[in-house]
């Protein structure tokens, strides 16, 4: 069973696998873009501005999900000392960081025509900005701490603390008065979003997710190669 957690297991994935991953990602994104930019209708209130949502919402979901994965795998790192989880977390961080930036950037592009402002300090927007800073500090902790084992410890602690922020982001729109609207898609209710707009959103989300997987494998490989380069054989063996 522990064979799964060997660091170099990834090199058994052949080029064919990556080729098909790439094809799936590209076709989903192209299909999703056609759906969201051409096929899907305008919104009855917002008009064409609604199309920003097809990038904004998947990016925000992934920014949150990736940090959740990082936090959980950091707990595994600290508690069970399975090194492969450290590398998972480290490889995921820049991807999540990029998506959190995309989320904030597209959100403010949408906010200007809809609300009348690029930015406001309501609970949702502020807690999302806090997430961006958690990503930044996580990445910086690996850059500034040179010793692998010390960096592993402190970056994991940072990711675990950051977990506390995730429910705040998710429920901020229900707990407090915010300018940001509540979620349109909930697990317990039928979505408040018309099916002709829900379809492109889900296709885009799927496409983005495959993209995350693809970049994640590349980053993971790079991290392993870096470890080999820096002769941290002690790390690799464990």
């Amino acid at each position: 069973m522990f064979g799964l957690f060997q660091l170099k297991k990834i090199f058994q994935l052949n080029d064919n696998f990556f080729y098909w991953l790439k094809i799936t990602f590209l076709s989903l994104i192209i299909f999703g873009l056609i759906l969201s930019l051409v096929v899907s209708p305008k919104d009855y209130l917002q008009g064409d501005t609604v199309r920003i949502m097809y990038v904004h919402v998947p990016a925000s979901w992934l920014a949150l999900m990736i940090f959740a994965a990082m936090g959980i795998s950091s707990i595994v790192t600290l508690v069970f000392k399975i090194r492969v989880f450290t590398i998972y977390t480290k490889s995921l961080a820049p991807i999540g960081f990029t998506f959190s930036l995309i989320s904030i950037f597209t959100g403010s592009l949408w906010g200007q025509p809809t609300w009348g402002t690029f930015w406001t300090w309501d609970a949702r927007l502020t807690s999302m900005l806090v997430l961006v800073f958690f990503y930044i500090f996580y990445i910086l902790s690996w850059k500034f701490i040179k010793n692998f084992f010390v960096a592993e410890k402190y970056s994991s602690i940072l990711a675990i603390i950051g977990l506390a922020n995730l429910p705040i982001i998710k429920f901020s729109v229900e707990w407090w008065n915010t300018l940001h609207q509540p979620a349109s898609i909930k697990l317990t209710e039928s979505p408040a979003i018309h099916s002709s707009m829900l379809m492109p959103l889900l296709v885009m989300f799927l496409g983005f997710s495959i993209f995350v997987l693809f970049i994640f494998f590349i980053r993971y490989k790079i991290e392993i190669l870096k470890l080999q380069e820096s002769k941290l054989n002690k790390v690799l063996k464990k």
């Binding site: 609300w115 009348g116 402002t117 407090w176 609207q181 979003i193």
Partner: protein
């Protein structure tokens, strides 16, 4: 002390200062903004009238928008369906500012029933649908009141 250690310590100090400043900044704005806006009822229940810039949110009451064309001054009523507040605003209204839709007005209270608006933010709800569907729902009488928030 070795140069690399010196470097690391200075990095650490700089980031610690940055973290502290940011923490203070975020904490302050969360303190102030977890109540992002008051409803007209909140204001009435408050024993004293809040001073300075505050935000009031609710629905724009039907048929309450009036315009003084010469000066671009708008007056309207914001309601939470229990209590109302009268708003006067000079400037450009956002596109989504409509009767019976959500709005957040930033401004100064003259008294509990009168707000001098400085900024108007249109609040958008979680409902998304094509115009034809909205039209059809209104016609068939299945238009849910919650779409008007």
């Amino acid at each position: 002390m070795s140069p690399s250690r010196k470097k690391r310590i200075s990095y650490f100090l700089v980031s610690a200062v940055v973290v502290l400043i940011l923490g203070k900044f975020i904490f302050n704005s969360l303190q102030k903004n977890t109540i992002y806006f008051f409803s007209p009822t909140d204001l009435l229940l408050n024993s004293e009238t809040p001073r300075g810039l505050i935000r009031v949110g609710g629905l724009v009451k039907r048929d309450s928008i009036q315009e003084k064309k010469s000066e671009a001054i708008y007056t309207f009523v914001v309601t939470d369906l229990k209590n109302d507040i009268y708003v006067e605003y000079k400037g450009i209204l956002p596109n989504l500012f409509q009767e019976e839709k959500g709005v957040v007005v930033e401004g100064v209270l003259k008294d509990k029933k009168f707000l001098l608006g400085k900024t108007i933010l249109a609040k958008h709800d979680e409902n998304y649908m094509p115009p034809e569907v909205a039209e059809a729902l209104k016609k068939s009488g299945k238009w849910n009141k919650k779409y008007d928030q």
